[in-house]
């Protein structure tokens, strides 16, 4: 049975509209006009036990709203969401005990106290027996290297250290379903990598179902075989990550810094030139041929520096958005 099952889910918000300027403010103070915003609009998907699914979309696409519906914070306007067989919005104790919500931009740790105090609060809230608590904490300690962090006041921790403690606090009760909303936001690259490794390892050890949203392509490529892309509340793509990248971004981005000034014509035979700025240039090179193209380029042009990158997730997604979805 699927751990998460969403059928024709809709969530609309009523927001009041304000016209610009003081006159507009006064008008909206007296008589507010409302408009329905379709944050999630007729979305359906299922996620099996133990799956790690990446949830992608630009800001305001409806990712967070979907996660909030799944974790019971929001009532669906229409359609149905089931998690572990429960209706999340009922917020039943048995349901809440088995899930967890981590939000990269919000924290649950007590600001003025060491993280361990929050852990003890959560131990009491989830009624975790002492032995299980010690065991879980030891394991999280091993995976996240919490050691000295636990006894420091949270406000004295760096963002990365705090995020580690946030994750640990959210996992003490060994949830079966994890909702991670931009868990790596604001972290430096090393810390992002550590977080990914931890999430992957946690999934491997405990077979937990994980739904993850992120703006970072690397988070998603490192963790998820499957991605779900939404924009303006509508589902645009649901499927394998590799086919998505190959189909929609069948190229890599090659940037060069040359010793002599470059011209657009000179580069056309290597790939689709995006930008030329005297010594610098950027072009799109077909995915399968990037290494041979670069080899040729290095032979033919005196180059100081070459970088090969995956196209940014925003680009891939915006291409999907331009196409208005992916025919599967």
């Amino acid at each position: 049975m699927a751990d998460i099952d969403i059928q024709n889910l809709c969530k609309y918000y009523r927001v009041h509209q304000k016209e610009p300027g003081l006159a507009g403010s006064i008008r909206s103070f007296v008589a507010r006009r409302y408009k329905d915003v379709k944050a999630v609009d007729d979305v359906s998907f299922t996620i099996a036990r133990g799956e790690v699914v990446g949830f992608l979309g630009p800001n305001g696409a409806g990712k967070t709203t979907t996660l909030k519906v799944l974790s019971g914070l929001l009532f669906p306007t229409a359609g149905e969401a089931r998690v572990l067989g429960f209706l999340p919005h009922k917020r039943g104790t048995d349901f809440l005990r088995q899930i967890t919500l981590v939000m990269g931009q919000k924290q649950q740790l007590l600001w003025d106290l060491p993280a361990i105090e929050t852990f003890l609060v959560n131990q009491a809230i989830y009624e975790i027996p002492a032995t299980a608590y010690r065991q879980t904490l030891a394991e999280l300690n091993e995976l996240l290297d919490l050691g000295p962090l636990l006894k420091k006041q949270v406000r004295k921790l760096s963002l990365g250290e705090r995020m580690k403690c946030e994750l640990a606090a959210a996992l003490l009760h060994r949830p079966r379903v994890l909702f991670l909303d931009e868990p790596t936001i604001g972290l430096d690259v090393t810390m992002q990598t550590k977080m990914r490794q931890f999430i992957a390892e946690y999934n491997r050890r405990h077979g937990a179902t994980i739904v993850l949203t992120s703006h970072y392509m690397a988070d998603v490529t490192a963790l998820c075989k499957r991605v779900i892309i939404i924009d303006h509340g509508r589902l645009l793509y649901d499927g394998n990550l590799e086919t998505l990248a190959q189909r929609l971004a069948p190229y890599k981005i090659v940037s060069i810094v040359a010793r002599a000034p470059l011209t657009r014509d000179q580069l056309l035979r290597y790939g689709d030139v995006q930008e030329v700025d005297t010594f610098r240039a950027q072009m799109r090179v077909p995915r399968g041929h990037s290494s041979e193209v670069i080899a040729r380029l290095l032979q033919e042009i005196a180059v100081d520096d070459v970088t090969v990158e995956e196209p940014p997730i925003e680009d891939i997604i915006s291409e999907i958005f331009l196409a208005g979805g992916v025919s599967s």
Partner: protein, 261 residues
């Protein structure tokens, strides 16, 4: 059981934090004594002119002032810190964490914080009450003492429910400073026995914003001049308000759409 354990942990947390700010203890003690003295001075001046206000003598009024100080301590120490936090959590969206915990969100939100040093007010209030009762030389029967204590409990429940009803509106308005200031101003009326006010004000202070049940009614019980009707009404009032605050909270949570990230 679990809730008692949680309160114990929460209050320990808060004590740990408050112990870091020793100066606050001093400031709160000074402030508490200052305000109590100020209130006592006020009625001293009144009683220079006459020996009764309404049908309350000096020490009887002092008892009401003591209770007012006590409940001010409860309000500032136990209720207001949570209100401040609830407003913050709604504004920042961290209320999400409370709502995804398998414990009553109302409990988590409203009992989470305590400002330990404000309990000085409670101590000062108890002191004033004790002194007033001692000077009055009232013979308190066991039954009266019990009723007094029960009325104190119901007053606490009532005060809690009023605050919760008020703070729950933050789910819609987000900023509710004005409402809490208004309430504090009205609560100030409880400094004196409600019977000294004109009839319609009494009505308001008993049945619209039932401040009278918090200070005057328990004081009257201790003095043995409370009719049973008012005692029963006091419990009914507390129960009704508590139930109302519970359902209003649930209603608000249902409509909560947290600040988007």
């Amino acid at each position: 059981m679990r809730y008692l354990k949680l309160i114990q942990i929460f209050y320990k947390n808060c004590l740990l934090v408050d112990l870091e700010y020793r100066a606050n203890f001093l400031i709160n003690s000074v402030m508490s004594v200052f305000w109590a003295s100020f209130a006592i001075l006020g009625i001293k001046i009144l009683f220079l002119q006459r020996d009764h206000i309404g049908d309350w003598s000096y020490y009887e009024v002092l008892l009401v002032i003591g209770l007012f100080q006590l409940f001010t301590g409860v309000m500032e120490g136990v209720l207001r810190p949570n209100v401040t936090q609830i407003v913050e959590q709604i504004r920042l969206g961290t209320m999400d964490f409370l709502l995804t915990k398998p414990v009553s969100s109302q409990f988590l939100a409203s009992m989470r914080y305590v400002r330990v040093w404000h309990l000085v007010d409670v101590a000062v209030g108890v002191g004033i009450c004790g002194y007033a009762l001692y000077r009055l030389q009232v013979q308190v029967s066991v039954w009266q003492a019990l009723l007094f204590l029960l009325l104190l409990c119901s007053a606490t429940v009532l005060l809690y429910s009023l605050w919760l009803l008020m703070v729950t509106t933050a789910f819609w308005f987000v900023r509710i400073d004005n409402i809490t200031h208004l309430f504090s101003a009205i609560f100030d009326a409880g400094r004196f026995p409600v019977t000294i006010y004109p009839g319609w004000v009494q009505g308001v202070l008993l049945f619209v914003i039932p401040v009278g049940f918090i200070t005057t009614v328990p004081a009257a019980a201790a003095l043995g001049r409370l009719s049973l009707g008012y005692a029963v009404l006091s419990f009914v009032m507390a129960a009704v308000m508590f139930v109302a605050s519970y359902f209003f909270w649930r209603f608000a949570v249902r409509h909560y759409s947290s600040a988007s990230s």
